[in-house]
Symmetry: C2
Subunit: 784 residues, 2 copies
């Protein structure tokens, strides 16, 4: 089933009516609004998605009676007059969230025929009353993110319940256009709420309460007709109608002008701005789950462009699958209400509290969780910073100091780092210096690569075959391409004895040679398994493992087994850690423990910047002395900010749960290779991906595809590039643009990023198999 | 009036009963709980802070009737049976928030006499029902942050209203211990809510609903007595009591063990850890407004230690004024509900959306606001990063490229920066390189100071007299100490013609000499007015102004008036900008426009990491070409994260409002010097501080004080240090420790930070004059 996204039609306005509670008069307000809008538009739709209770008492029949000329409809009717989640019991209808969302989406779409009009969508019960599936209504309808009118509670206690209901909508990312309520002056609710919301830039308006019930039904109908006729003409209602229509137009103006305004006021990251114009900037109206809700100045090529034969009006907003997982950060989806609430709780409890010599529960819990769950007995201390780059700066400072102290090197000496070619550790100058000269850094005036970088064998699937491929210039030492029956076999490090021997011989020689040349190394820095920004290279894990072993055994000097030897080993797990590759720590693929580990990105589930640099006790002790200037004098203003730490705790807890979920079990099963006997029997050593094995193989066979791989949530394909690969390559951008334009009706629109001739796809931890399957189909079609 | 803080007594437990709405049975639950606790404790208090309606129907008389042995009390009784904010009309009682908070705090304190017991505090109406002053109840009682029992709504619609009420408490930072409600099975509310909250780790329990009203009053009383007697013995209630008592003990254990656990798992910023132990780490239980709610293993010397003659039990939590404004970040106070809600709305609407080639409303609005409000016609483009250090790295990359391109320097050349001695721009290695060698950086292996740094005259008040003091070695060129009648005169730059002439002559000569020596400068970098981390040095604004002028006029090469000349000028306003010194931009004190401005810290009002680097169009254009590698290839995962940008917009809007508030008008008036005639008549040129002029003068006269200054929210005092000043000095730590211990009953406990022999105080933008006055009194006492 297609994912339902947000909608915004220029001519068909939509307004969703929520109630602060049951019994606040949603239907009365809906009727008044329908009548009021009827004076502006020919077509006024009243839609009740879900109705419970006897048919004759249903809200749409109220509308039929009192809403002359209004087109009213109910999508789901259940006769039991209770909450929808109870009323559906025994029903055979598909009332799953996506079914209901799709039904509402399709119904509204059918109204969008190019004529000016409005649809009023009335919810059932209060804002958080349960929907048929059991989730709250505000969560059910959130993907559509329609503008909201909240009917407040005019009764005793209604001030508080109205504000709370508004807060519940607000933290779910809704735009509440207005609060409306009956003006019963006894409790002064309206007067209070009007002022309260005015301070928050939310309009409020009131209506005269409806008349008392009359003696006979016909008198009653007459009296209500009169009431509606007057109420819909009242100043407060007509001025709301004016404001609403204005705000609709303003929203469209704002969305349409954002790309151009962005070109005027924004300096975008990682972009050559000579290529930027208002057609290349995408406006994000909102986002939900795996999808951006996008507006593009340049209409996409198929989805958003209506069939010329159809009278269908196109929505300005297109949902686009976030295939870069928002630069590799997403773990739990956009607009996640649980993370929003967690963030707000920490903000409400602490705000930010200075962290020097202080501790608070979220920071302590997060540190303890990381130390415990990383499964690395060396690690004992967590240092907080704000992003991967600053966290790597800290890691480098830690390692250089530990190495310099033990080796007696002075700060003036040229201490370097050892790494792999194509590594990337951030954009601050200190971390840039940890990578070899490249297009990323070579023009930066203060960049001075300070290290030595080794080339390495990579793992690739070509035409359905897993290979370990050795760079041309290393084939003499490391042999030719080796083929494997499965990814599991590649990662079965203990079994690859011959490769190990070759690798160690080569690496021992290299290290020896470097030392002979008098070079001093303060750290070995590696991204375990995947070198992300360098072009999504899947390193042969055995080579990385051998490099760590070689470094450590080169000068054994550790005082105990948690101490470092040779040189401190830093694993940059900013991208690869915390379930990105399906495991808490990517180091577990190598079966070796680092002395310093850096985590960020997924740490907060994809919501906020936060980074941890976790170090061993031996590294920590290198900074102890009686002199303050020997300390690690590093810190940022918002170090260990409570909001980030709290969100991280909630995210890790949720991701740990997901790692045991049925979806993940199914992914693992899809990749299990029972025929292969592994030397290391641990099931944890089995490699798998959220992307199906069939998809990965199918892509690898495509004629324009050079090679592919997939692990955990990451899939990467290298496209054949006749002009030679590299970051400057543009061969993948054509595919990227096709995916963004949409390949056809009913298929996903995909917002992807490329790295040279590599296009990658990445899910969140809670992306559903259905969503990923849809993306797979779309990508396969686009590769035809 | 004293600020009311959070309380936590080991023996006197507290439980605040909130209702999801009016009429959900708070008093019935309170009565049941009082009776249930009465079986555990001798002393059970029932406190109704505010009651409306006839006295004989008041909740405490219900308790008197049914709560045998319960000590019940009402603090404020109003006879009108309406919401408290209406009921107080015409009352002469002081019902200000602080009065009510103090009354509750004092009443509870009087119960804390060392005996085991509990106080049940019952609120009025629903969670967000208005308190007497008009703010919501949840906001009224938030400073106390008592553990909460939320009585859910068992009626139709009660599922939604209960969850919304919980969310309103949660986003205000409350710990809701449990949800309780009548189990009326018709609507299934309890079954739903129990499962819903179990997923969120909140217990829920239910009770049998009370019996129907009987025919006579005495039968009714008898029936209710029976009901209470059974209900308070029920399994669900007794097991809640057990859980509550356990969680109380666990909270204390956790708080008391946090400092030690922190020493095991945390690597603190900017600390020599050989000095760290569990007595030196402060646990932050929460924070509110200007105050941390702290637990210290080492009891503070007076406040927290009870008078030995008294039976008063000390609260484990001490409110401590956050005098470092949490490392200079606080603008709008801790636990600010408006910022929490804004953060949650952005999280709910977007989560984080990737910013490359994209735009969203919060980022666009923030960029436009900064460009417009900075009042600097050069600025046109905003680049987002996560903290001041990364934002300065970007600024340096921008300036060096622009300068290198225009001058034809290659990346291999040694391009340097020009700055002032004692500058600080962050802890990443690139920004460290922008400061001269010092205790902060000299032991960092990769630190290589790349620049030339000038010493400069500073502004100080000594013994009530404002001086501009010239460093010893510059007196030949710049003259001796100059005295001024007011700070306004110091900042009246146009009037200081003789000084200007001397400064320019000296600076022109210095710059000429550096160029003659073949040195290449890519940027002038300065913190306008105050060099913060370098030791709170107030630079002579005229000197900074002359330096900018000298640099720009040294090689005039600008193509138009928004172009840079000489070298790009970077203002690091991370600390000094955005109202920290009372103005949107600190550059306005110098009357000169930078080419690049960096803002952070106050940008989000003190909640979250976010940084902007705002540059001129000329700088931006230096990166334009047809080659991607010429671009500024910089970016962080969470660049322009929507939550941070949204919070920044809300914060700036709020701070702009505050700048016109009555409090700020009073501060300005306190500092106005009508007798002094200024050459530049603009009232905006008048210098002022939130700290009173009397206080600043009084401190300057203290015998152990060397000098002081105050501007905007910042007050700094340099203590006399016989051993010589500097970052390694410890002379101020004694004062800091005294302030943290508390100088006596009724005085503020102050959590301050020192920089060498400098101790500073900093308010938030919304600190009240009362709070600051209390801090001033305490500091003056501590200096005796």
């Amino acid at each position: 089933m297609r994912q339902v996204g947000s909608v915004l039609w220029p001519k068909l306005r939509t307004l969703q009516v929520y109630g602060a509670n049951t019994g606040v008069g949603k239907t009365i307000f809906s009727t008044i609004l329908c009548q009021a809008f009827r004076k502006r538009f020919e077509k006024v739709h009243y839609l009740k998605p879900i109705s419970t209770g006897p048919l004759q008492e249903a809200d749409d029949s109220h509308l039929s009676t009192f809403g002359s000329g209004i087109l009213s409809k109910t999508l789901y009717q259940f006769s039991d007059p209770v909450s929808p989640h109870l009323a559906v019991r025994g029903s055979s209808q598909d009332v799953s969230d996506n079914a209901v969302r799709s039904a509402v989406h399709d119904e509204l779409s059918s109204y969008a025929n190019g004529n000016d009009g409005i649809a009023i969508i009335e919810t059932a019960g209060g804002v958080l009353s349960p929907a048929p599936s059991g989730i709250t209504q505000a969560d059910l309808y959130r993907p559509l993110r329609l503008p909201v009118l909240l009917v407040g509670d005019h009764r005793l206690g209604g001030i508080g319940s109205t504000i709370s209901a508004w807060e519940s909508l607000h933290i779910r990312g809704y735009d509440v256009q207005s609060i409306a309520l009956s003006d019963e002056s006894r409790y002064g609710n309206y007067a209070y709420l009007r002022d309260y919301f005015a301070e928050r830039n939310v309009d409020a308006f009131s209506i005269t309460p409806p008349p008392d019930v009359r003696a006979t039904a016909s008198e009653d109908i007459e009296s209500m007709r009169n009431y509606y006729s007057h109420a819909s003409d009242g100043t407060q209602v007509t001025s709301f109608v004016d404001r609403f229509l204005q705000s609709h137009d303003q929203r469209i103006d704002s969305l349409q002008s954002m790309p151009k305004q962005a070109t005027e006021a924004i300096w975008h990251p990682f972009m050559q701005h000579s290529e930027r114009n208002e057609n290349t900037v995408i406006a994000m109206d909102s986002a939900y789950g795996d999808y951006f809700q996008t507006y593009q100045k340049k209409p996409s090529q198929s989805i958003a462009k209506p069939d010329p034969a159809s009278t269908q009006e196109a929505s300005l907003i297109t949902p686009a699958f976030d295939a870069s997982a928002s630069w590799w950060t997403q773990g739990l989806g956009h607009g996640n209400p649980q993370l929003a609430l967690t963030a707000a709780h920490a903000a409400g409890r602490y705000g930010h509290v200075m962290f020097a010599s202080a501790i608070h529960e979220p920071a302590l819990t997060l540190a303890q969780t990381l130390i415990q769950r990383m499964g690395n007995p060396r690690l004992s201390k967590v240092f907080y910073t704000d992003n991967g780059s600053t966290g790597m700066e800290v890691a480098v400072k830690m390692a250089l100091r530990a190495a310099s102290k033990r080796n007696g090197w002075s700060p003036d000496e040229n201490v370097e780092i050892l790494g792999l070619i194509g590594s990337y550790h951030g954009d601050t100058i200190g971390t840039m210096d940890c990578s070899e000269p490249s297009i990323y850094n070579k023009k930066v005036e203060w960049y001075r690569g300070r290290g030595h970088w080794l080339d390495f064998p990579t793992v690739k699937m070509r035409d359905g075959q897993w290979n370990v491929e050795v760079p041309e210039q290393l084939r003499k030492e490391l042999g030719d391409t080796k083929s494997f029956d499965s990814l599991d076999e590649v990662f079965d490090l203990d079994a690859r004895k011959a490769d190990r021997e070759m690798y160690r011989k080569y690496l021992d020689g290299e290290i020896d040679q470097l030392r002979q040349a008098g070079r001093k190394f303060g750290a070995l820095i590696m991204e375990p398994i995947i070198l992300g920004a360098g072009g999504m290279n899947l390193a042969d894990p055995l080579f990385q493992r051998c490099l760590v072993d070689a470094v450590r055994e080169s000068t054994p000097s550790a005082s105990d087994e948690t101490d470092w030897s040779g040189m401190p080993v830093i694993f940059d797990e900013v991208f690869t850690g915390l379930y990105r590759l399906g495991r808490f720590s990517a180091a577990s693929f190598l079966g070796v423990d680092a002395d310093i580990v850096v985590n960020a990105k997924l740490l907060t589930g994809g919501l906020l910047p936060l980074c941890t640099t976790t170090a061993s006790e031996a590294i920590f002790e290198a900074f102890l002395s009686n002199d303050k200037s020997d300390a690690l004098l590093h810190g940022h203003s918002y170090t260990a900010h409570a909001v980030g730490c709290a969100v991280a705790n909630e995210s890790l807890k949720t991701m740990m749960k997901i790692s045991d979920s049925a979806d993940w079990t199914a992914y693992r099963k899809n990749w299990s290779s029972p025929a292969v006997e592994l030397s290391s029997a641990s099931p944890a050593r089995s490699l798998w991906s959220m992307w199906s094995q069939d998809f990965v193989k199918a892509v690898s066979h495509k004629p324009n595809v050079d090679s592919v791989f997939a692990i955990g949530s990451v899939f990467a394909m290298t496209l054949k590039d006749p002009a030679g690969s590299g970051y400057a390559s543009t061969v993948a951008t054509g595919l990227r643009d096709r995916l963004l334009a949409g390949t056809g009706p009913g298929q996903a629109v995909i917002h992807s990023r490329v790295l040279g001739n590599v296009l990658y796809l990445m899910g969140a931890m809670n992306s559903t198999p259905q969503t990923l399957a849809e993306v797979e189909r779309t990508v396969l079609d686009a590769l035809e």
